[in-house]
């Protein structure tokens, strides 16, 4: 086990209010994994990261690095590096001086420093930038320096605090795969904080969805998207439609769910053991709706169509006046819905994911 957090609580106290930033957070990360903390702002993800880095002391709970309790160790005594949102490059040093800073602090021999720095510079594609200062290079290059400066330390854990949020969309995409490539190449255990779900999806081995200081779900990007455990996760990750209902029948393969307003029965699946008469929601992704006949059908009137080139997004209203969002890909080869058109749409059993309706 590379990194372990055990029952972390963090309470911030100001004059007359107490804010629970992190609540009973436990986590184990294997060597070489990239784990992402994903959640809306204020969900406690950055606080958790700063607890791992040692900038915050947890109010209770423990942090272990390779089995050793490091909860009260100062940041400079932990074998952990961090890439900051603002890059936090030293403005008075050149690119090279930035990268070799930590090695010099360690008092490594000159030739070893040189060797390591050169390797990292070529790994991150910073050749030719060595003698520039941070304000003389582009945002993307600054990002690379920040990454190089952390990597060169060969830390046991590498932390990323929203590292791409200051880059433009295109650069963000290429830096994302760059970070993943280097992380895999060096097999470096990483914790990555972001509020951007696409970023989380594309980069992570494991995603931890957080809300209000608590873990909502831990899982692979596929699981998080396809099998959300609760309404928050389903809603936060991607677009989703919720169809209310009550479990009326179940067997080993599927549940039957009855919606009273539509007077209709749907079939759906769940990993939880749902009970008869339990209130549930069908979490239905827009892209699961199709003209092709499937296990479930739903009818309504098209109210709005937005053509986006690669896809068509549309809204239709069911008989009980609920709006359902749909997405249709490859419009060239598909029928494009028209406004005011009355249609029947279908979705399959596998896409009919049931979660408990806790309201």
């Amino acid at each position: 086990m590379s990194l372990e957090l055990k029952n972390i609580y963090k309470v911030f106290k100001s004059e007359n209010t107490e804010t629970v930033a992190v609540k009973d957070f436990s986590l184990k990360i294997e060597k070489g994994q990239l784990v992402t903390l994903l959640g809306p702002s204020g969900c406690g993800k950055t606080t958790t990261l700063r607890i791992i880095a040692g900038f915050e002391t947890p109010t209770s709970g423990k942090v272990f690095l390779e089995g050793k309790d490091i909860t009260n160790d100062p940041p400079n005594k932990r074998d952990i590096s961090m890439v900051f949102q603002s890059y936090a490059l030293f403005p008075h040093m050149t690119v090279k001086e930035n990268i070799e800073f930590g090695l010099k602090i360690k008092k490594l021999p000159k030739n070893i420093v040189e060797e390591k720095v050169n390797y990292i510079i070529s790994l991150t594609g910073l050749e030719g930038m060595e003698n520039r200062r941070p304000d003389q290079i582009s945002g993307g290059q600054q990002q690379r320096v920040a990454l190089a400066r952390s990597l060169v330390m060969e830390p046991k854990v590498l932390l990323f605090d929203e590292p791409l949020s200051n880059l433009d969309a295109k650069l963000r995409e290429s830096m994302r795969s760059e970070i993943r490539r280097i992380q895999k190449e060096l097999n470096i255990t990483s914790v990555y904080v972001t509020h951007d779900q696409t970023e989380a999806m594309s980069i992570s081995d494991i995603i931890i969805v957080m809300n209000k200081g608590e873990i909502m779900q831990v899982g692979s990007p596929f699981d998080i998207y396809s099998y959300p455990q609760n309404k928050f996760v389903a809603d936060f990750i991607g677009k989703v439609n919720f169809i209310e209902g009550k479990v009326i029948k179940k067997n080993e393969r599927y549940y039957e769910v009855y919606n009273k307003a539509l007077d209709k029965t749907f079939v759906g699946i769940s990993k939880k053991n749902l009970q008869i008469n339990e209130n549930v929601l069908i979490a239905l992704r827009p892209e699961a709706l199709t003209y092709e006949k499937k296990e479930n059908s739903i009818s309504g009137i098209i109210k709005k169509v937005v053509y986006l080139g690669s896809q068509v997004e549309y809204e239709f209203e069911t008989e009980n006046n609920k709006t359902i969002n749909g997405i249709l890909f490859n419009p060239v080869e598909n029928k494009i819905p028209q406004v005011n058109e009355k249609i029947n749409l279908y979705f399959g059993l596998k896409a009919s994911w049931l979660i408990k309706n806790e309201e």
Binding site: E18, T59, F84, F90, H92, I105, M153, L159
Partner: protein, 563 residues
């Protein structure tokens, strides 16, 4: 409550994990206590005890029954209030004209307002005597008047307004330059007249700045020692001079201490009001967007009236300071204005030792004070530890404590073993270190607040410890604050008088004290020559520092952009 105590114990726990930080904090707390708090306590204690070391209000009773002493209290408050009001008014007029009109020669006006910072704080008084006194250049030579009332309330007030003009200008300039002209544009756009824009927008927005300037001037005026010593005379006693005379003339420590307490109380009240009430009422109108706007706040006529007023103020200031240089080269000011270099020869004969002492003391205390200021700023902004608020308050306290009080406190506190320092080099150096530390702390704090803390955190995650982070990252980034702390402490140490006059001895004497004594014995030309040398030394120091640090500073400045 449970969480509060847990947080508190967590802060302690992380401190214990970091013994070097703990030791540093203890050292700083102890030093601040010994050299700031303890002398003040001594002043209080002595003033409240009788000759048998028992609690007694006897000293205060005898002071209150003495009309001459009561008069001193009234006079001090009167001068301080007048200086505060008139100084702020003139400062506001000057700063407003520079910021809100398109008059020519703005750089000239700015320079004239700021340069006097480097002059000793009693030059105004000397110059006023030379210009308006019995043998005054203007009164007696120009108009033949010999009875112009320079001694007393008005002379003192004018001298103080001149002396503290830079303070007033810099504060108000800061206030006015951050009020975005687009707000005034908006008001014009809503069909307000110029007068309405001024009274309903600009003036209300500058009220906190005006209040704070008045309080600062009030504190400075109360604490002023050099000007009243020269100008107040026996007919117009003020507290700071009275306290000094009680101690050095009558050897009455208790009376001196009690007068010092009288002096301290209104200053402290003004300081607390300024810091905790007015200071919190600042309006933030900075939006981050470029806010250049054509200046149109005043009419053409008003503009030229304001310009003329500024010109008159500037010429008066120049006159005051040029007089000193002129005086230095005359045989006997007012009686024989022939050119001579004799005065400088005299100064080098009589004052060589004091010039050396002054330089040595200033050059020792300055770097220590500036560095300690940066360290304390770093601790306050970046570290969590119990007692942080206290540390900040105590280290800024010296802004408010008049030098006279500190001087009396030091002779009371450090005249017995193990802290027997009276008459030594150390007592002057220590006094200067702790007296001039607040400016370094303040500029360090404000600069650090603009620097992304992640830069230092990055250094920590790369394995640097506290002292490495401070020396390799923080200090290079706050070099401008360090530089201004160096300049400030040096200027103040070279021109110090109010506390230092109690601490000098035959072995360690200061130029300022020499200048005052020359002025006192009527040798104005010699005093001027002394002052000129003092001013040249200060300018030389600033110049050397600028050359020495030039590359570094421009480097750091250009890099702040990426934060």
């Amino acid at each position: 409550m449970e969480v509060a105590s847990k947080e508190f114990s967590n802060k302690f726990k992380s401190l214990i994990k970091n013994p070097s930080l703990l030791i540093l904090l203890i050292l700083i707390f102890v030093a601040l206590f010994i050299f700031i708090i303890y002398p003040l306590l001594k002043v209080f204690i002595i003033s409240f005890t009788d000759n048998n070391n028992k609690f007694s209000l006897g000293v205060y009773k005898s002071i209150l029954s003495n009309d001459y002493m009561k008069q001193g209290f009234k006079n001090s408050l009167l001068v301080a209030t007048l200086t505060a009001v008139i100084g702020t008014l003139i400062g506001y007029l000057y700063a407003f004209t520079i910021n809100r009109t398109d008059i020519p020669f703005k750089n000239f006006f700015r320079t004239i307002a700021i340069v006097p910072m480097v002059f000793p704080p009693f030059i105004g008084a000397m110059s006023i005597i030379m210009l308006f006194g019995f043998n005054g250049l203007i009164t007696s030579k120009l108009f033949g008047i010999r009875t112009f009332p320079v001694y007393g309330l008005w002379g003192l007030m004018i001298a103080q307004v001149i002396t503290f003009f830079p303070v007033a200008f810099i504060t108000l300039d800061g206030v006015l330059s951050t009020i975005s002209p687009t707000l005034e544009d908006a008001a014009f756009n809503l069909k307000a007249s110029r007068w309405q824009v001024f009274t309903k927008v600009t003036l209300p927005l500058s009220v906190p700045g005006i209040a704070s300037t008045m309080l600062v001037l009030f504190i400075e005026s109360l604490a002023d020692f050099g000007n009243p010593l020269i100008l107040a005379g026996a007919s117009f006693p003020v507290l700071s001079v009275q306290a000094y005379l009680e101690i050095t003339g009558m050897f009455n420590l208790k009376n001196g201490a009690a007068l010092a307490v009288w002096l301290l109380v209104p200053s402290l009240i003004a300081f607390i009001v300024q810091k905790y009430w007015v200071g919190k009422k600042k309006y933030i109108t900075v939006t981050g967007k470029p806010t250049t706007s054509q200046l149109k706040s005043v009419s053409k006529t008003a503009k030229w009236i304001l310009f003329s007023l500024c010109m008159i103020i500037s010429i008066f200031i120049i006159l005051i300071y040029v007089t000193i240089f002129w005086g230095a080269f005359t045989k006997a000011w007012g009686m024989n204005n022939q050119f001579t270099l004799e005065n400088f020869k005299y100064v080098f004969d009589v004052g060589k030792e004091s010039i050396k002492d002054t330089l040595l003391i200033a050059l020792t205390s300055t770097p220590i004070s500036a560095l300690l200021g940066m360290i304390i700023a770093f601790l306050i902004v970046r570290k969590a530890f119990p007692g942080k608020k206290t540390l900040e308050f105590v280290s800024l306290l010296n802004f408010a404590v008049p030098g006279t009080v500190v001087g009396i406190g030091y002779i009371l506190a450090f005249n017995t073993k193990p802290l027997l320092l009276t008459g030594t080099f150390a007592i002057l150096v220590l006094n200067f270190i702790f007296r001039y530390i607040p400016v370094g702390i303040q500029s360090g704090i404000s600069l650090l607040n603009q620097i992304d803390p992640a830069i230092e955190e990055a250094a920590y995650t790369l394995g640097a410890n506290d002292s490495q982070v401070f020396l390799k990252i923080t200090l290079p980034l706050i070099i401008p604050a360090f530089f201004s702390a160096l300049v400030y402490s040096f200027v103040r140490a070279m021109t110090a008088i109010s506390a230092a006059i109690f601490l000098v001895s035959a072995d360690w004497n200061l130029m300022t004290v020499q200048i005052l004594s020359q002025t006192d014995s009527g040798r104005l030309s010699e005093a001027c020559a002394f002052s000129v040398i003092l001013i040249l030394l200060i300018l030389a120091f600033i110049l050397i520092l600028k050359i020495f640090l030039k590359n570094k500073i421009s480097l750091v400045d250009s890099n702040f952009a990426i934060d």
